[in-house]
């Protein structure tokens, strides 16, 4: 959980220190007992581009944590703690952040990590030519100053509420390696040099990645493991079967290709095998249903509300997710990171009778062959099953639909670029919502142009005003008020229908210790340096 106060905290312990307080005590105890050595084998998705967090964006930040460190880090309860920076301060208006770096940190090649490297990394993220998917987190960056080798100050034009929870834990790149060349063509994408607890030894595309421990890691005595192997598989079910057979040591939620095969996981969780430990945890990952609001029939808000009433979200969570999810009522979900803004008064209402009524009022009477025909866009796999369920629910209120399935590339092309989505419905999964502004960006009128993220092309002036206003201030009280109003508008107009949020499930063989399921940028791998194998 990321508490707002955390980013104004200063600590005395820092990265190199070992002050024993509270949770640090238990960690130290674990450190003393933990067995050293061994190889951990994990199921993972491999990076699309390579080991550059600026380029991978939201695709793969957890695994960057293996070879890189960020200014901050996440601890086992998901709070921000010192990383490369031993302390930091933020201004009241949240437009200036100053980090003091810990001394003596070195990259894997022996070069020191300094404020210049931090500056270089954040400039790369903000650089329009690099087009980093993370640049939305530093969108209003004004300047980065490095008054000395261990101090960095980032200044923004206005409040930046995304900086700390969003990118402060992002891996820092060595300037001397990446400067002066096109990062997308760099050989270092596959041969990274970082400050992290592990070094990349070997990467066989489509098969596995091997990491070995960095024995010069700044946190003395860590990592406990000698080696970590990421096994890449194309099919989650076979991967999990391998895990059950003992061929893999752990399966972490965020590393499963195509999402968790829920039935299989349910079977494992319910069976409670003595040698396997499982953990379910809340994630700020929402499945949202979209409609094209610029063309019939979804240009009519009554039709959109009817759609919302016709969906039995409970059944979807029970049947398709096998219970590993929670119904989401409002577009600003009830997640730990956004609880302050979530409006609990907004509730889903599965009501086919009401849906029928609204459709009649909207001028689409029931007739043979359905009131009207729509298309449900899908990608193969889980989304097809979800679409089948939706189709059955729509049929129950007289809407005929056909499913059009494709692979991911043409799917997103049509939705985002071509915008040929009249009379179509689709779902997109929004991960890592650390702040309401991230999810509401998808509903902002300024993103309604082709190539932008407002896929439903919904342009509500008042909502737009509020969305931009809530971004422009750091005052949580004011923001809360605006978000409450926005949520009421969205529930009323229904440009999108939030369906559910997915629970994460981590599984590991019992001899693996130190795994903490964390919903954050760097996820469960945030504590990889204290994972150990207790095998006799």
């Amino acid at each position: 959980m990321v508490s707002r106060r955390a980013f104004i905290a200063t600590t005395t312990a820092g990265v190199t220190g070992a002050a024993v307080q509270g949770t640090r005590a238990s960690r130290l105890a674990h450190a003393q007992e933990a067995k050293r050595g061994g190889t951990l084998r994990l199921l993972q998705i491999e990076p699309a581009i390579g080991f550059n967090p600026a380029l991978e964006g939201t695709n793969w930040p957890e695994t960057m944590r293996m070879v890189y460190n960020g200014l901050t880090d996440f601890n086992e309860t998901g709070d921000l703690v010192p990383g490369l920076a031993r302390s930091w301060t933020a201004s009241e208006e949240a437009d200036t952040f100053t980090f003091k770096l810990a001394p003596g940190v070195q990259f894997h090649d022996g070069q020191p990590c300094t404020a210049d490297d931090v500056r270089f990394t954040y400039e790369m993220v903000a650089d329009a030519k690099v087009a980093s998917p993370l640049n939305v987190y530093v969108a209003n960056l004004k300047s980065i100053d490095t008054p000395d080798k261990s101090t960095v100050t980032l200044r923004f034009n206005g409040p930046n509420v995304l900086m700390m929870p969003g990118v402060s834990a992002m891996g820092i790149l060595p300037k001397h390696i990446w400067a002066g060349a096109d990062p997308r063509k760099s050989q270092y994408l596959a041969q990274p040099v970082g400050t992290g607890p592990f070094k990349l030894k070997d990467w066989q595309r489509g098969d596995h990645l091997t990491f070995v421990a960095n024995r010069d890691y700044i946190r003395k005595g860590r990592p406990y493991l000698d080696q970590v192997i990421f096994k890449v598989v194309s099919d989650a079910a076979t991967g999990i079967q391998s895990f059950r057979n003992g061929e893999l040591d752990a399966v972490l939620s965020q590393g499963v290709p195509g999402g968790l095969p829920y039935a299989l996981v349910r079977q494992i969780v319910d069976a409670r095998p003595p040698n396997i430990a499982t953990n379910e945890f809340v994630q700020a990952f929402s499945q949202i249903l979209w409609m094209n609001c610029a063309a019939p029939p979804f240009d009519n808000p009554k039709v959109r509300r009817a759609i919302a009433h016709s969906i039995n979200k409970e059944l979807i969570v029970k049947a398709l997710l096998q219970g590993f999810g929670r119904v989401q009522d409002s577009v600003v979900g009830n997640f730990p990171s956004m609880r302050w803004a979530h409006d609990p008064a907004i509730k889903s209402d599965y009501n086919p009778a009401r849906a029928n009524q609204l459709l009649d009022e909207a001028g689409y009477p029931k007739k043979a062959g359905g009131r009207f025909k729509i298309t449900i866009l899908a990608t193969e796999g889980f989304r097809v099953k979800l679409s089948e369920a939706l189709r059955a629910m729509f049929t129950a209120v007289g809407i005929e639909s056909s499913i059009q399935s494709s692979t991911w590339a043409p799917y997103i092309q049509r939705i985002r670029q071509d915008r040929e989505t009249a009379g179509m419905i689709w779902t997109i999964f929004i991960p890592r919502q650390v702040d309401p502004s991230l999810i509401l960006d998808y509903l902002s009128p300024k993103n309604a142009k082709p190539g932008g993220s407002n896929y439903s092309q919904w342009t509500n002036a008042r909502a737009g005003e509020l969305i931009e206003g809530a971004r422009a201030t750091g005052n949580q009280g004011k923001r809360k008020g605006m978000y409450q109003e926005i949520q009421k508008i969205v529930a009323d107009e229904a440009p999108v229908v939030p369906l559910y949020s997915a629970l994460g499930v981590d599984m590991w063989q019992r001899y693996v210790e130190g795994i903490h399921s964390i919903d954050s940028l760097t996820g469960t791998l945030s504590t990889i340096d204290t994972v150990s194998l207790n095998r006799s």
Binding site: A263, Q267, K318, E388, R391, A392, I403, Q404, S405, S406
Partner: protein, 281 residues
């Protein structure tokens, strides 16, 4: 002609396995669509009884959306039968015409047609169909046409071989002497006599088309608007250890259909192919 048919039937009947297969297939071909149409089973009706075991209410259990699997399997069988029949029809029409033309005219026409046929047999057609279907979307009609277009060579080759042999027969010569034109000779005289070995090929073609469509669906290229056994198998795969009936019955259905068609094809081959018919050495 009548005498030939009677002879064929006699030999066929003696192949007990083939006759049994024919009967079973006939039952399925008639019963499955009838049951579906008459009872009006809705294969898409979801319910809260998710992953229910086979029981009296649901003879094959229910799937991950609470849908009755027996109803879905029947619909899937119909789809497979449709695919098999359509692909066979397409391959047959193209193959018959081109094979007859090639065998009759010889020369450059024959050359071109046979090179095209060879080419299609050699090009990795499965990859092509897979890539195209994946890229352009796996609509069922699309898949059927593509499969038909890649399997006509098998028919054409057989037809051509038969035409080559039949061209020199007496009845053709006498028809020509009586003034019959090319088209009449090709399609009225020769073609009907090339059919026996072709018929056997049809059954085999049909079964391989069903298998191909199921494979494509299995790899995720199928048409989600049509109930397909291959797609049921893929969607049900993750439940194989805790709800085996979800992928189990569709998979078995594909197996049974393909098996029956192959048995039928084999039996027809023996009955219709004169060279194999003579018993004993």
């Amino acid at each position: 002609m009548r005498e030939q048919l009677a002879e064929v039937w006699r030999v066929f009947r003696r192949q007990r396995a083939a006759a049994g297969g024919f009967l079973a297939l006939a039952v399925i071909v008639v019963a499955s669509p009838s049951i579906v149409v008459l009872t009006g089973i809705d294969p898409e009706a979801i319910s809260a009884d998710v992953l229910g075991r086979p029981s009296l209410a649901h003879a094959m259990g229910t799937d991950y959306l609470g849908r009755d699997i027996l109803g879905r399997v029947l619909h899937g069988v119909n789809t497979s039968l449709l695919v098999g029949a359509s692909v066979a029809a397409i391959a047959l029409s193209i193959g018959l015409v081109l094979g007859t033309a090639a065998g009759f005219y010889r020369g450059s026409i024959d050359h071109v047609i046979m090179r095209a046929a060879d080419g299609l047999l050699i090009v990795p057609t499965f990859f092509l169909v897979l890539a195209v279907a994946f890229i352009f979307g796996g609509r069922l009609s699309f898949v059927i046409v593509m499969l038909g277009l890649t399997t006509w060579p098998q028919i054409a080759r057989i037809v051509r071989a038969e035409v080559l042999a039949l061209k020199e027969e007496a009845f053709v010569q006498s028809a020509r002497a009586l003034g019959a034109g090319d088209a009449h000779l090709m399609f009225r005289e020769i073609l009907p006599n090339t059919l026996p070995p072709v018929v056997a090929m049809i059954a085999l073609l049909g079964s391989s088309a069903i298998l191909s469509e199921a494979s494509l669906s299995f790899l995720g290229v199928g048409d989600p608007n049509v109930v397909s056994l291959g797609q049921m198998l893929t969607s049900g795969l993750e439940y194989v250890t805790n709800a085996w009936w979800v992928p189990g019955f569709p998979g078995a259905a594909i197996f049974v259909l393909v098996l029956l068609l192959n048995v039928l094809g084999d039996g027809l081959n023996v009955a219709l192919n004169p060279r194999l018919r003579r018993g004993g050495v």
